[in-house]
Amino acid sequence: LSRPVAITNARIIDPASGYDGPGGVIVTEGVIADVAKGAGLGKLSADVEVIDAGGALLIPGLVDIRVKTGEPGAEPKETLKSAALAAAAGGVTTIVVQPDTHPVMDEPAVVDFILRRARDIELVNVYPAGAATKGCEGKRMAEIGLMHEAGCLYVTDADRPIVDSKVLRRVLSYAKAFGVPVAHRPADPWLSSGAAASEGEFAARLGLPSVPAIAERIMLERDLALVELTGAPFIVDQVTTAGALESLKRGLERGLPVTATTSINHLSFNEIDIGDYRTFCKLDPPLRSEDDRQAVIAAVASGLIQVIVSAHAPAPAEDKRLPYDEAAPGAVGLQTLLPALLAFHHDGQIPLIDLIRTVTAAPAALLGLAGGRIAKGAPADLVLCDLNAPVVIDADKLVSKSKNSPFDGRRLQGRVLRTMVDGRTVYSV
């Protein structure tokens, strides 16, 4: 039996209950045994280990529902262990890993493998997202029911849009019967084919093959129509353009069961950051115009976009130090998610509690997880964070095996002091 732990003298932000104020928690047996809001925790028994937060922020551990590692199949990029270490260092206590591994996570044995590996590593909570179709090929349904039973939280073909509308319709209808949400990337495959950047003056100058922003809206319109047809719970995997946001808004106004995500990268960077062919800024979907970026920020502020993901996608130097159109897309983000997010608080663009909600209560509610909140009986997945501490991101010092961070050199504010998962401290400075 482990000793109970009390965290006192903190500023608690718990978006699930809407609380932002002083307080503390007591953790017993991996669970939050008591929460004191405003008042102190009262008299603590002698065997309690007390952590004085010194006024630091105490928030639920972050839930990141779109993470890629290299395991199984591409371990030199990132293992579940190195990703879990990066998550812990970044205050992320739950990650949902994507199915486009080798082999593809399209059957229960691979789901089981991930869950067993995560148990062995014993750092952060790891859940798999299963493939929606066999091999993520968009042709035949994967074993959605069996994977759900084995523990996958939602199904998706990750970066690959399901082109055949009939297939997506079947996936939606079938998954609905099991209560499994379907996530889908809105990208018209024909307009996007071969593209390395967003269409516009900048890409044209650089001579990069590009995709018009409207490709996102075109696919989203189809997806929303299929959601309307099937009534299935649906996750829009990263909205990054103003045009798609209009479609999303209309869909939500019609009452469709849709939750939209966006990535921290598309909130933080625009196409100009590509500069002189900086491949660390090569992402999928590609970075957009500043107008699009501002529209996405506004959509997070208004609640139209409810969930923010790191879109953690490790790519080693050998996959990035290539000519731009040959370089692998993607960026690591687990460790930089929280400070990058806090920038919108420091810049006065989005209220702090709303920002925290997008990475805690909102994704937890979406996937029916017990965490993501600071409440009696909830798992003790907690993060202590110095809200104002300045940090300079140094990509080479990131914990991930791959160092492909577009935030390299960025000055941010917000430092994770301690990360707890089920009451265990998995990271502390």
């Binding site: 100058r205 062919y277 290539l322 731009y324």
Partner: protein
């Protein structure tokens, strides 16, 4: 310099030194730098017309041609330029080397760099490849065409051809016609010609002009007769034939009908119009032989000649800079 024609000697004795280590993009240059390069190139044209064409400005230097994309004419142009300046020239053909064995561009660059070349001339099918390479090597890098991005020595030789034909570039109306979308020649020319004060127009079907081109401070025309009306220079671009089979244009014959340069369309340009083409030409597709071969209007042969001189100017300028560094 013994053996140099008087005009060239005068330019060589100027105190201006080229301030950049690499020659990657027309947008990196300013008007003074281009003017000096053109003056120098003019001198090399005279040299190249002498019986004895050889100088020792690059004596002891090693020039490596690294062409990941085949281009007989550009590669031989650089090779001649280097040899006439006295450099040792090595042509690397990546097809038969390790690139095809999975070695990356950077690995190849690092390997070649260890052989201590002074000048590395690179052509690659990816935009930004020359810039990437320049960050990893100690020598000067010349971009001989990177994907759909830039081909700055082509813009320089085009400017040289125009300046020699008209005496000036400022104020010229230049129509760049054809596949602007995929053309590095177009991008470099737009940047350089605008810097030199020319008035640039783009002409082509909407499928071959970037949607954002209207923000490049150019006029865009989809009707060729209107586009070249009153122009001093009509610059045709090469169109890859596979793009013309219902992909970017419905067919070769339809393309030629609306966007091929023939006598009839050319009559809309200024009476003294000059026609240019970076080569190799698709005769009967983007340009009619009657126009291409008419030496009273065509600068196409001049362009090839100017190419060697322009590249000699670039190599000389970069090598002088290396001298100052070491």
């Amino acid at each position: 310099m013994s053996g140099a024609p008087p005009g060239l000697n005068e330019v060589l004795q100027r105190t201006f030194s080229f301030p950049k280590r690499h020659f990657l993009s027309a947008t990196d240059l300013n008007e003074v730098e281009v003017a000096n390069l053109l003056d120098l190139a003019d001198g090399f044209v005279s040299l190249n017309r002498q019986t004895s064409k050889k100088l020792d400005l690059l004596k002891g230097r090693t020039l490596m041609n690294l062409f990941f994309e085949n281009s007989t004419r550009t590669q031989s142009s650089f090779e001649l330029a280097g040899k006439r300046l006295g450099a040792d020239v090595v042509n690397m053909s990546p097809r038969s080397s390790s690139i095809s064995k999975g070695e990356t561009l950077i690995d190849t660059a690092v390997t070649l760099n260890a052989m201590q070349p002074d000048l590395l001339v690179v052509r690659h099918s990816s935009s930004g490849a020359a810039s990437l390479l320049s960050q990893k090597v100690g020598c000067s890098v010349v971009n001989a065409g990177d994907g759909q991005h830039e081909h700055p020595t082509q813009a320089l030789l085009d400017a040289l051809s125009m300046r020699r034909a008209f005496g000036h570039i400022s104020g010229l109306k230049v129509a760049i016609c054809g596949d602007v979308m995929h053309s590095r020649v177009a991008r470099s020319n737009i940047a350089m010609l605008q810097m030199l004060g020319a008035n640039v127009r783009l002409v082509g079907p909407p499928t071959l002009i970037p949607a954002a081109a209207d923000r490049w401070n150019v006029e865009v025309f989809h009707d060729m007769r209107q586009g070249i009306a009153g122009c001093d220079v009509v610059m045709m671009l090469r169109l890859q034939l596979e793009r013309m089979d219902g992909v970017m244009a419905p067919s070769q014959r339809e393309y030629f009908r609306f966007f091929g340069l023939d006598r009839e369309k050319l009559a809309y340009a200024a009476p003294h119009v000059r026609v240019m083409h970076p080569g190799p030409m698709n005769r009967g597709v983007e340009i009619d032989s009657e126009v291409a071969d008419d030496l009273s209007v065509s600068l196409i042969q001049d362009q090839v000649e100017m190419g060697v001189a322009a590249r000699m100017a670039v190599l000389t300028s970069l090598a002088a800079r290396l001298e100052n560094e070491r």
